[in-house]
Symmetry: D2
Subunit: 359 residues, 4 copies
């Protein structure tokens, strides 16, 4: 359903960019999981605007408040509500946008769907909506830590426009990614990427790229055979992130250039476990994890908000021009990395709890 | 949930490849929609093995029986059950497979998940499972015809391994696609593709490729803002098809190479309607259809079943070798085209009915 | 959703009384549960028409076929489809009913809802629909046996019209109930109840009554705090059975005549367990089982099908008269006992699996 | 799912009695429905403690804040979050309760389920949880007003312990009910009921009773045939209200004393509409509304909180005594009337939107 994600571990998000608050209810969280406001806040700070010189300078405090379901830093098993107030309301900056449909934004489609639209900001299509996802994932992460401590979920910037990072998903670690403001996994590409983003921004333009993600230590057996295949739920999760245009797992689109004998992952016994020699499957076979690293990539289009003149129409059907104003991210990928991780955590936690029900 | 797809228009599939039957229950179908057994059968015949010289010669009658929910070729509004008997049971051909995990199949992961596995065939991971989806989509198609006659959904083979078809999604028609056994949309590529598949098959090998799909005439306003974005549901639908490794919409992964000013789709009034000058959004903005053509691509890996020796392990943990036997598709794409269309129809119908609830 | 029941253990039923078949898909069943066709058949035979001299003489073979999800009498973890063919089609007996709305049946409301209606029999409102529920519960029962062998679920006829049985829910056993064709738990009331039903039937009339059900050995902790309270799900389950008009748990409506000090169940330690001295709560507190016996009652109205002249209207809006014809149950309660048990089993199994997910 | 209710019109509630806040997210609300904070507040005030001399004197401001989904008093179609701060925290009053299980409360079962429990108040089992339901229903009510203005939903106190009100569901109006603090529909019983409640309270005791509810002007065709029968969803909704022990519709349990010829509702044409001469069906046949008044009754047990000594056990398994302290409702029925109405409104609105999807 529209604003609900997950079956056993379910989250419900709410909030426009410029209303009273954005937030989330988490239902189905096991009891007695340790969680603090600080853990959630740390997660939120990674996706916050204004965190570095290459993201939007917009200031958002994004202070999370836990309203229910937690007592003395322990979950109660009941719904956990987390709320973040909207404080930095500058509707004036968006006045022109209220009347003109911003190209490649959701202004027109919201009007088409609802016959009404939040007067300022992007409404539900704002990146602020992802706050609820990240907060929920911070709690889900605690479940993984408590029950499946071997699981590691890491995402990084794989490319910015034509600039490709060279990263080994087997060995990349969080410190390497967090050590740079682009959140790429390749130290040699940090400077070129930063310079490119600055240059693009100085032109009032924007760029996109690809984020790669690995799930290490996932036990075999997660995912459901038919519609709720683990990769299908990951695909949906990733395509639900604003600005995404594609998803591929394992060999992905490039795998279509191989033959079967080149592509198949041979099985071999190793330390008493069934392992695969290669991993073109990307850690999932028939919709179910096989114990190998789950590796996938997500394509992000260049940010739709740009500072140059664009042809568009008004909400009452007149051709016009729009010049971007206000604050914008010339490249959303550094801030999208924690969101990709958050959605991966949510999918995995949901499937772990689902698997328990039948085990 | 595992074997359920959709919210307003819901399907539940069942069936292993070699049990008594495979089938589907469709719940939420509006009443008074005309449907015949022949319409369903025609749809099933498009996905049937043995239909041409380039697909598996395995014979499957695939005769659909409507068990409920339809009277005098009109839907009653109650659940529609459709069943297809499994008749061509040759478990002998699969004996070796029961003991050895076929590389890049789901044998191992089913065992890991359930601690048990259908002794022959691929169980639920068999392509036969898609029968229920195609049958359900044949009914959904009738809803579209009755209520939204302008909607056209067409898929075609965009590439077989390195062989690329050149197809215009604006103008391609069903006749062109169905006129060739590859189901490509580019008549000049029919012969090269057929020859390539035959050559690969003669080598006991297999190939994959990309299927492209267009939804024309979709009204603006379909799709939900957050998790049930139209592209997110399409992505999940496509990644739920066996052998898929990737999904992209509109500009997709290639769009990450553009800047924002190159990528944005300018709006313009045309015949009193809000239209976009270009369509890199792929017909969906903010998760909601904008009235332009919805265009997406799906990557299919090369078929895992090949006829050459492969290293693998037995279900009791011994290293061994497996030689493929029996019947196989050297390339699943010609038969996957109707399945891609079916899943697109199911997503669209579900969202059309969901939109009605709030309109 | 309409024809779906349960969250972790989910069933989807289909089928009209006079179409090709009725049946069920069970999704979410754990793997490696032993089940045979005979176990299902035995369960179905308890609800079958024609089983005794006080139920409808209509003959229905009701032979269940397992179409998927089971291999060598063991569940695979995949959806289990069970189908029962409709064989005794005598649409002629229902011709008059097709044109005239039977009082207190669902003929008119189906027309009002769907604008169409199954031409004969009661469509989905037929008691045949419960076949799928009973078959699914036979499998759920096997899960309980395998994992929670102390749980016992027993229902019996508590009253037929004014005839009240005196039954102790603590000690009643299945043998006592099944030893008589009324399925009452009070041997002294068997003959009076049989005679009363026969007399009522001879008058072309019908009677209802109350079925009581006990769940013994239920572990504490099942049920969800708010909307999915265990008693709320039981209430829904029971009111979903055709012909039911009421549900009460523990002290029920009579409990409204007590004061709090009379009604409260004092706690006491017993054998190291928290127990209650009395059980006016009916085994559930705050929506969650407390380990005491769960006891509830379900009211069934007198069968709507009677053999006397009744005032009614035609489907095209003319006042008319209807005389009941064909075969009917003068009292559905003996056959409803296994259906009450089945729905209780389904609710309990669902909540047991749900509880596992968070434990 | 635990804290979610509804399918097309869905609400998710959260909040313990003594955490930061209680509240609700409403998803699936149609756009362009007028709603104000005042309308919600007025609804909440009807369920508020301290509103009269016969309910708990506990003060709760219960000020509702709309955090999202509404702009300029019009719904946007996106999730509506409503929050009510918990302000009157007096955990001291509950200290003894934290260590001792209150008889017929949910203290023990929460511990049994979760292994942890909110240290004070009733956690999720507190009546404060119903704030979210009432707020959501205030919005649902606006949908009904906008689209189905003829629908009227009214509940009243039918009995307090042995004191029975005489009310005609056809003609009772809101003014009569709201004119007295008991919220009974029978002016002659107001004084006796008030006196009885006061007397019971003065004894430190409590009483329960029955609330009756009528839905007038409901169009025929609402409700789903099998599991989501309209009466089944109403039964679940009512049994999800704290302190309820029973539900009956139309003739209810008393209907089991009639014969079929006495019980059946004859059809007759009236003003061109299909009507029933009597209404023992209670407005629903086969799970679907028939256009007559929907009438049901809900049993409420006497309040579990009493001021006399009670035998109980501590959370660490010692027999002990508990003396009730603090503030309590000697009779919850006056405040439960708006909650019964709220749940009825939610069920009806959900089914109205669901019916739209297939119409």
């Amino acid at each position: 359903m529209s604003s609900t994600f997950g079956h056993a571990f379910r989250i419900h998000t709410y909030g426009e960019s410029h209303g009273g608050a954005v937030g989330v209810i988490i239902d189905g969280c096991p009891p007695r999981i340790p969680i603090t406001q600080e853990i959630i806040q740390t997660a939120l700070d990674r996706r916050r605007p204004g965190q570095s010189e290459i993201v939007t300078p917009r200031k958002e405090a994004d202070t999370a408040e836990i309203l229910s379901g937690v007592q003395d830093n322990i979950t109660l098993g009941t719904p956990i509500a987390i709320s973040v107030r909207n404080t930095d309301q500058r509707p004036g900056a968006y006045d022109e946008m209220a009347a003109k449909y911003r190209p490649s934004h959701a202004d027109y489609t919201y009007d088409a769907k609802y016959g009404i639209r939040a007067a300022s900001g992007g409404g539900r299509s704002s990146a602020r909506e992802t706050i609820g996802r990240v907060a929920a994932a911070a709690i889900a992460q605690q479940i993984l830590l408590a029950h499946f401590p071997k699981i590691e979920i890491l995402a990084w910037v794989k490319s910015i426009q034509h600039l490709q990072a060279n990263v080994n998903p087997e060995t990349i670690d969080a410190a390497t990614i967090e050590a740079n403001i682009v959140r790429t996994g390749d130290p040699t590409m940090v400077e070129p990427m930063i310079e490119h983003i600055k240059k693009i921004r100085s032109e009032g333009n924007s760029v996109g790229g690809v984020i790669e993600c690995v799930i290490r230590g996932c036990p075999p057996g997660l995912g459901e055979p038919i519609f709720d295949k683990l990769e299908a739920d990951l695909a949906k999760a990733m395509l639900s992130i604003p600005a995404t245009k594609g998803f591929e797992i394992g060999s992905g689109f490039a795998g279509t250039l191989l033959t079967g004998s080149e592509h198949n992952d041979a099985f071999v016994m190793q330390d008493g476990k069934v392992r695969t020699v290669s991993n073109r499957s990307g850690g999932i076979q028939g919709g179910i994890s096989n114990g190998e690293n789950i590796i996938f990539r997500v394509a992000f289009k260049p940010t739709a908000t740009i500072m140059t003149n664009q042809q568009t129409v008004t909400s009452d059907g007149q051709n016009t021009e729009l010049q971007g104003k206000g604050r914008h991210d010339a490249c959303v990928l550094p801030r999208a990395v924690p969101i990709v991780e958050a959605m991966a955590i949510l999918v995995l936690t949901d499937h772990l709890l689902r698997q328990r029900a039948i085990s």
